[in-house]
Each structure stands twice: as C-alpha cells, then as structure tokens.
C-alpha cells in the first residue's frame, strides 16, 4: 500500500553530473523501473532510509541542462516539476551539480529553485574541481543561495550521511527566486497569473515560454497563454535567451563570492592525450572496432561454459524429475514443457550479463560519447546521426530499450530512420539462435592460434546486421524527404574509471527485467507449445500407437525404433504439426521443414523462443529415455527426404540470415508503435524486414546447397 505521508524527493542534474551514481548509492538495489504517465520515458524510483528511521521515496529524473526541454526525456523534468497536482510532484528536489563545472551546472539549479520547490544542492566531484585548481566554499555558497549545500562524492559515497541528514531537517520557508523574471515581460506575466490563477511569477512565465507542451495546462489554459503571447507581441525566444544570459550574470556574481582559482598545471592532460588517440583518424576507428570485437569474443568465450553448464543442469533436472514423478501428463508437462521452458530463459543470463557489463562500462568510462563523436560524419552519410550509435549499439542487447534510446535524437527524420533500422542489429535474443546454429556447423578450430572460428562467425553475424542497418538507412534517406533541423551539441565527459557498483546494478537490473518480463512470455509460450505439440484434432493421437504398429508390421522394427516412429507420428498429427505443415510450402524454398516452421511461428512472439521450441519439438519427437542437450538433439535430427542431418550448413546459414533480418518480435512492434504514435512505421518495418529476411535466406540456401 502506498504511504501518502512519505516524503517524495526528486533528483535533478546535468547529464554526467553523477545523478545515477547518487541514486544507486541512496537506494541500492531497492529500486524499480516504470514509466512516466503518457510517455515511454523510463522512470526510476526507489526508497531510502534516513538516519532518523524515516523512509523516503526517491525519483530519478532524466539528466538535463535546463528546464527548457529539447527531447522527450528532458520534457519529463519540466512536466514533473511544474505540475503540483501530479502524483510525482516532489516535496524536495536534490539538484546534483558537477563542482568542476559549477557555472553551467548552477543554471539548472537556479531554474529549479525559482520554480518554488524546496531544494538541496549536492556538490559532487569536488575532487575533480580541486584538481582543476578550483576551491569552492560550500558554506558561503549555502549562505548566498539560502539553501542547504552538501558536498558529496557520488563515486565513493562520501558525504551521503550529511545529505541524508539534510533531508531530515524540516523544510524552511521557500526562499524568494534568485532571479525574478517579472522584468522580462511584466504585463504578460501579470495577466497570465490573473487568468490562470497562479501566484508565482516564474511558473506563470513557464506557461508563456514553455507552452504549449505543459501537461498541467488544460486546453483552455493553452489558448489563454497563446492569446497573451499574441496580445503582448512576445518574442518568446528572445526573452528566453535574455533569461539565460541574466541567470549566468547572476551566477557569475555568486561564483565571485564562493569560488577561488589556484593556478595549476593543466590537470586534464591524461584525458586530452587519451582523446588524441581515441579520436584519431586511424587509431580511433581501429580501437572502436577492437572494443566491439573484444565484446563479442568475450560474450562467446566467457558465457559459453556457463551456458553449457546451465543447459546440462536443466537436462539432468528433467531427467531426475522424470524418474521421480509417476508417469503421466503432469510428468510430461514438467519435463517436456515447463523445465525446458525455464531452462531456455536461464540459459541467456550469462550473455545478457556480459553484454550489459560492456555497455555499462563504455558509458561509465566516457568512451561512448567519443564513439558518437567519431561516428557522426559517417552515420550522417547513411541518413543517421552520431547519436544513432547509442541506439544501434544498444540494439545489440535488445531493440526495445534501443528504440526508446532514440529519444535523444532531436531530429524526427534521423530518429525515424534510426528506429526503422535498429531491429536489424543483432539483439541478444538472436544470440542463442546464432550460438546454437554456429556451434552446429562451424568447426571449433582456432584462427591465428587464439581467435575461435566460431567467435569470428558470430562477429560476422553482428557485422551483417550492422551493414544491413546502414544500407537500409541509406535507402530510407533517399526515399524520405523531410526538412528539419538537427542539433548535435553534446558534452564529452572526462574519462573516468567506471563505477563498478553502477555496472553491477545495471547488470542485475537488465537480467531481472529479462527474466521477469521476457521470461514470462517465453515460459508461457513453451507451455502452450508443449500442449500444441502433445495434443491434436480428433483421435489421431490416442490411436497413434495402433496406427503406427499396423502400418509398420512388415518392417520388423526394434522397440526403440518403433517408439521413435510413434513419437514423430504423434508430433506430425498434433496441432503444432498441422500449423507447421501450413507454413511448409512457404518456407520449403529456404530449406526448412514443418518442424522449423513451428519454431518460426513461435519466434514471432520472441526470437529466443526458437531454441526452446526446437528443444521441445525434438524432445517430444524423440522417445529416447534420457534427456540430451539441445545441441545433441539438433545434431541427431535427420532430414526425412535425404536421410542425412537436417541441419546442413546450407539450412543452418539460411536460418542464421533469416533470423538476422526478420522482424520476429511482438514487443519491438509494440514499442515502435508507441514511439512513432501510429501503425504506419511498424507496418512498413514488418514488411521490409520480412521481405529482406526471406529473400536473403533464399539466396543463401540456394548458393550453399
């Protein structure tokens, strides 16, 4: 039950000011991710306990440079801070600032302060500031601003006790604004206050300058604001620029009282030298490529033993449960449906953990921004944007957060193109499909002594997806005609050691999301599939044994061969079998049979279901007493027409290419619908990706067979 008396505290700050670290320190793993109402911006909330035992609700707002948004993420900040009636409206705001960059960071602080919400200023990165020769007098700053100022270190957690203590002290009266905007447009602000029944200059001003996007304005208020702007002939942009300049000159005045500079040697030598290498026209790209290569090699090499272990554990578990439970439907549901289904979820955990560890480290260290900087010119040639690099790289993990990450791209066309091609990047759901098929047909020999050939093949699949994404973007750039400004302004943060706690929390968070969100779907589908594969129309299944025995009396089969025949007869005449048969004519040119057809159908819900489906189908389809691993089952599968193995290189590579390009993910379609606010783009995406997948798989199968 939500406690309405709990104090709500919001965290606000510039990007890279250490906001997430502070949030992680305050809440630990006691946090959850939701959505802000009406938009798909991630909302991180959590709880923290204060020294006096009081528990507070913490809300982590997206990083922003000012309360004037230039993206949907930033919009959330002003929406939350302006709407007093909203459930998220905070009682207190902690503004975290980068002390080494105090002037720019204080701009946001003064804006938030002037909205009339009680504020605590958290001075972070004092160590970096003193390295730069900046000496900040926190006590004097607190006196000038008339708010509590606490110096903290969000990397080490130092000073957090003082911050928590500051939260226990009852809030004093809200101090007058640091800068009164009234002088910028006196009549208009007074009139807005009167008509919208506001008593606050800066809030009234927000309705004039920031409208029509503010949610707390009803349709009426919006037209009132517009009317006032017209009536007083307000030049909104000029006023806004003026406000920013005035605020900065006020901040200069404050800094003169609290900040002293000691002459120091340039302390950012290291960062500068590193930048010279990492953004070099040769070394820069080489290192970028090497980072990606290392990422994929390690995902393959480090995760595989763990995955094998999980795979074996689950087949042993099925074996054990099968022998303990009495024979019957329940036994088969557990050993053939539920356990393989759960195994198919758990087996992904090592890969997802490694992938997110890498992405978190790249972001934490500051390298991701350099990758964006390095790639912008090239990406623009293909109709993308340097900022598309982050969604595309995140797309390697999962298209859903990646599509959501495109919100940082302010240009609509760049954003649409990025959304359209991001699902071509090989997401982690394809990884198990790739892993199992590559392991099946690519020998595990090593190249040059230390690269595994399978690792190289895996990287090839990722490159294939990336190249397809670039080329599709290029085609879309030629087709789509849209003229809109795009801004690139981006801070290059200094390089820092990643904060391992943050990396750890990211990993736990992503694995949890996967297991509980995607896992639910996978488990449900596994069970549905087991039912479809175990039951069929009419009494074909109940009479299966008799029918098969009658048909094959002349063949003189051993008991085991007979059991196998019965099992595959049953599968063929099950609901799943009929479903697969329907698709067979369509997929036969690609080299697939109806069993793979079943897997393709279920993969539409989520690609990772492929492995589980294949495992279920082949375990139902074979009557062997002992449970074998998934790979062994695939190896044993025979092509009924040729008598050879079903998964020849031609079929395996055709499937690999199909999975690389096909839009087989309901969740992605749903998120694209939400992000583009219509069915047009998801429909186009589904059609072009399906066509690309089918034609490419057809070409590969025919070239190799």
């Amino acid at each position: 039950m939500p406690d309405s008396h709990k104090v709500k505290v919001a965290l606000v700050g510039n990007p890279n000011a250490g906001k997430s670290s502070l949030f992680n320190y305050l809440t630990g793993l006691n946090q959850k991710i939701g959505n802000f109402p009406g938009v798909t911006v991630d909302k991180r909330t959590g709880q923290a306990q204060l020294p006096n035992g009081q528990v507070i609700d913490l809300l982590d707002l997206p990083g922003t440079y000012s309360i004037y948004p230039r993206s949907m993420d930033e919009q959330v900040v002003v929406d939350t801070l302006l709407n007093e009636n909203a459930a998220d409206y905070p009682d207190v705001v902690i503004v975290i600032v980068d002390a080494s960059n105090l002037k720019r960071n204080l701009l946001l602080f003064t804006e938030v302060h002037d909205l009339g919400i009680p504020v605590i200023l958290a001075l972070n990165m004092m160590d970096v500031a003193s390295q730069k020769g900046l000496d900040i007098n926190a006590t004097a700053l607190s006196r000038v601003l008339e708010v509590p100022v606490v110096s903290i270190n969000a990397r080490t957690g130092a000073g957090l006790d003082r911050l928590k203590n500051a939260l226990t002290i009852p809030l004093g009266p809200v101090t007058p604004p640091l800068y009164d905007v009234l002088a910028l447009a006196p009549e208009a602000i007074e009139e807005t206050k009167k008509q919208l029944e506001l008593d606050h200059n800066y809030k009234a001003y927000q309705y004039l300058i920031n409208s029509p996007t503010l949610p707390s304005l009803n349709g009426d208020g919006e037209s009132i604001a517009k009317h006032i702007i017209q009536k007083h002939d307000l030049e909104v942009r000029v006023i806004q620029a003026h406000e920013t300049l005035e605020r900065y000159s006020m901040i200069d005045g404050i800094l003169a009282k609290v900040l002293s500079r000691k002459p120091t040697q340039e302390q950012r030598q290291f960062s500068n030298k590193l930048d010279r290498v990492l953004t070099h026209k040769l070394w820069g790209y080489l290192i970028f490529f090497l980072v990606l290569f290392l990422m994929f090699q390690s995902i393959f090499a480090w995760a595989e033993p763990m995955m094998d272990f999980i795979d074996l554990t689950f087949s042993a578990l099925s074996d054990f449960v099968g022998s303990v439970l009495p024979d019957g439907i329940l036994n088969r549901l557990i050993t053939e449906g539920i356990l393989p289904g759960i195994g198919g979820i758990v087996v992904f955990i090592p890969q997802i953990a490694f992938l997110f560890a890498f992405i978190a480290i790249l972001e934490e260290s500051g390298y991701m921004a350099r990758a964006v900087f390095l790639m912008d010119k090239i990406m623009r040639k293909f109709g993308l944007n340097g900022k598309s690099v982050v969604p595309l790289i995140s797309g390697v993990a999962c298209a859903i957060p990646a599509v959501m990450a495109t919100r940082n791209i302010d240009n609509w066309k760049d954003r649409i193109v990025t959304i359209m091609v991001t699902p071509l990047m090989s997401c982690s759901a394809r990884l198990p499909v790739y892993t199992i098929l590559i392991a099946l047909v690519v020998p595990s020999t090593s190249v040059l002594g230390f690269f595994s050939l399978q690792g190289v093949a895996l990287m090839g699949m990722y490159l294939l997806g990336f190249i397809a994404a670039l080329l599709s973007a290029y085609v879309m750039k030629l087709i789509m005609k849209m003229k809109e400004r795009s801004f690139f302004l981006m801070e290059l943060p200094i390089y820092r050691m990643p904060r391992w706690k943050n990396v750890g929390i990211t990993i736990v968070e992503k694995v949890k999301t996967f297991v509980f969100e995607a896992g639910k779907v996978i488990l449900a589908i596994s069970i549905v599939l087991w039912v479809l594969a175990s039951y069929g129309p009419g009494d074909a299944l109940t009479n299966a044994e008799e029918t098969v025995k009658k048909e094959s009396t002349h063949l003189n089969l051993s008991e085991e061969e007979m059991n196998d025949r019965v099992a595959s007869y049953k599968l063929e005449h099950s609901y799943a079998g009929y479903l697969g048969k329907v698709t067979e004519p369509v997929i036969a040119p690609l080299g697939y049979d109806w069993k793979i057809g079943i897997a393709l159908i279920t993969s539409f819900a989520a690609r990772e279901v492929f492995v589980g489906t294949i495992a279920t189908i082949y375990s139902v389809g074979s009557a062997g007493e002992d449970n074998t691993t998934i790979r062994q089952r695939l190896e044993k599968e025979k092509n009924p027409k040729t008598g050879g193995p079903m998964f020849t290189p031609a079929v395996a590579f055709s499937l690999l290419v199909f999975y690389a390009f096909a839009m087989q993910c309901m969740s992605t379609i749903a998120i694209v619908y939400r992000e583009t606010k219509g069915w047009k783009w998801p429909a186009i995406q589904l059609i072009y990706m399906s066509a690309l997948a089918y034609l490419s798989a057809l070409a590969v199968y025919n070239l190799l067979s």
Partner: protein
C-alpha cells in the same frame, strides 16, 4: 566573419555572438556565452564534428553548428 568552424586545433578565440537564434538558446544554456573564451580541442576525422573547450568542459558540435558562433 570568423567563426568557431574556422578555428584550428589548439587555437583560442572569444565568442561575440550567434547567427542562429534557435541554436543560440541551446548554446547559451551549455555555457557558450558572449565574451567567453573557447579553445578548439579536437577536429574529428573527416573534419566534422569538432570539440571545443568552453566554460571549463569539452563540448562537441557539428561544423555547421560551430559556424553559427562568431568570434572576435
């Protein structure tokens, strides 16, 4: 008029104004203020984007954005 886009790596300059109103608001917020000193830090391979040091931090922008910031 000379702009940030004309600067060579290592060169210093003082901002005098902006030629693009919409972009200027964002630049102001990011601490690119008239009278502020900027240093050209990095020019990306292929000449675009560029990275300047301003108000004590590194800010990257595209060349066409840099060309809206006029220098003394």
């Amino acid at each position: 008029m000379r702009t940030v886009a004309d600067m060579r790596p290592g060169e210093r300059g003082t901002v005098t104004g902006f030629s693009d109103q919409e972009l200027s608001i964002k630049l102001l917020e990011m601490g690119v203020l008239p009278g502020t000193e900027v240093i050209m830090k990095i020019i990306a391979p292929f000449g675009d984007p560029v990275c300047i040091e301003v108000s004590g931090y590194n800010l990257s922008m595209r060349k066409n954005e840099a060309s809206t910031i006029s220098l003394l």
